[in-house]
Symmetry: C2
Subunit: 235 residues, 2 copies
């Protein structure tokens, strides 16, 4: 525990304390942090504090102005696509809202990505897709949620990567985060929806057969299901 705590370097430690504090609303927008106060609070040098501030500034979480200090920016300014911001928000009280935002984003992106994948996926990627779809089938019953999750994440990652769009591909982590969050916050004894499993198999089929329209439509059904599921779980 001692090693994981210090997370290799004072810098990361301070960042992983300040970042969550900001996105959780603990340091509300408009509040001011002074560097020397932070120095003292975390018992680190100005070097470290300044570097952390610069990183937070690059995420648009704070703005540093002379004579006034480091002011926390309102949420509308935040770089909500920064993986760390996403992680911090998912770990805080804003989790439901963040989960909803991400799921809506998924619902927009994944169908288009699947359509593109159907036109561009390599034979290897088609094989991977089929493999993971079958893996989902195999693990969809009997409380094997963890193993099911692995295949589910891998499936969506392959689709996003196979779309050939670098920006879609980068959403793989986001989808993984959402799926993981769903699994771990659900009652762990409910097996996955069989309909969803079937849909994945059919998407793999459609991609393999280069049927872009069908791949897109089927994926749209999947994400629609995810949205509906969210309504049950989130406030």
């Amino acid at each position: 525990m001692d090693r994981a705590d210090r997370a290799q370097g004072r810098h990361e430690h301070v960042l992983d304390s300040l970042g969550p504090a900001i996105v959780s609303g603990d340091c509300p927008p408009g509040s001011v942090l002074r560097t020397d106060e932070l120095e003292e609070r975390f018992d680190v040098s100005r070097t470290v504090v300044r570097e952390v501030i610069r990183v937070l500034e690059s995420m648009h979480l704070v703005a540093s102005r002379r004579r006034v200090g480091v002011t926390v920016l309102p949420p509308e300014e935040w770089n909500v696509y920064d993986p760390r911001v996403i992680r911090w928000r998912l770990a805080g009280p804003d989790r439901p809202r963040q989960l909803r935002s991400l799921t809506v984003l998924r619902s927009a992106v994944e169908p288009v990505a699947a359509g593109l994948a159907a036109r561009l996926a390599t034979p290897e990627q088609c094989a991977e897709l089929t493999e993971h779809a079958l893996g989902m089938v195999a693990t969809s019953r009997g409380q094997q949620l963890e193993r099911y999750l692995v295949h589910d994440i891998a499936f969506h990652r392959v689709v996003l990567r196979a779309s050939g769009n670098e920006m879609f591909a980068r959403l793989g982590d986001v989808v993984a985060e959402v799926l993981t969050g769903r699994t771990h916050h659900q009652v762990m004894f409910t097996d996955p929806d069989p309909a969803a499993v079937t849909l994945h198999v059919r998407v793999a089929e459609a991609v393999r057969e280069r049927d872009a329209a069908r791949a897109e439509a089927l994926t749209r059904e999947i994400v629609t299901g995810a949205m509906a599921e969210l309504d049950v779980l989130a406030p």
Copy 2:
């Protein structure tokens, strides 16, 4: 010009030199930068260099390791949603590919955003939408491309914001960048496609009438047009 050059601070100057150099492939992936070399190259102190490195690291453009130096990461690692990375890539040789990625992203997101906007837009937002759509009509003929562009950007910004999804809203800058790029790289004497203009007016209508399906479908037509247009312009 002298003021804009120094851009308030050595930090930004170095960042705006190194960032573009990396995303343009000038510093190829795997190449190593040493901090003392950068100090000398930009004639700044270690403080500045280290802070720049930390910011670049937070964008996953580089990774800093002891005893080895700062290594440039491959493009797959980059935080391609970081506004600065997008701007740097649009300014470099990777521009066509980046423009294509962004347009594909638009084609996925904007229709869904329009559908949501139809359900959630406030009366004020509906009014803004109509206003800008009419503004587009008014400026669509007679070489008023600059003024047309302003309305076009504003229109899409309102849609994204009215969707109620923070992540969609943050794509407003991206869309603005794409639209600006298109206008400025097109022959400046060709007026906008009348069909596109009409579509915007009809989207505003659909949103005002709370017709989500129509708003989505019409927006899909718009972005399909944008994709087709891109095929003409980009290699």
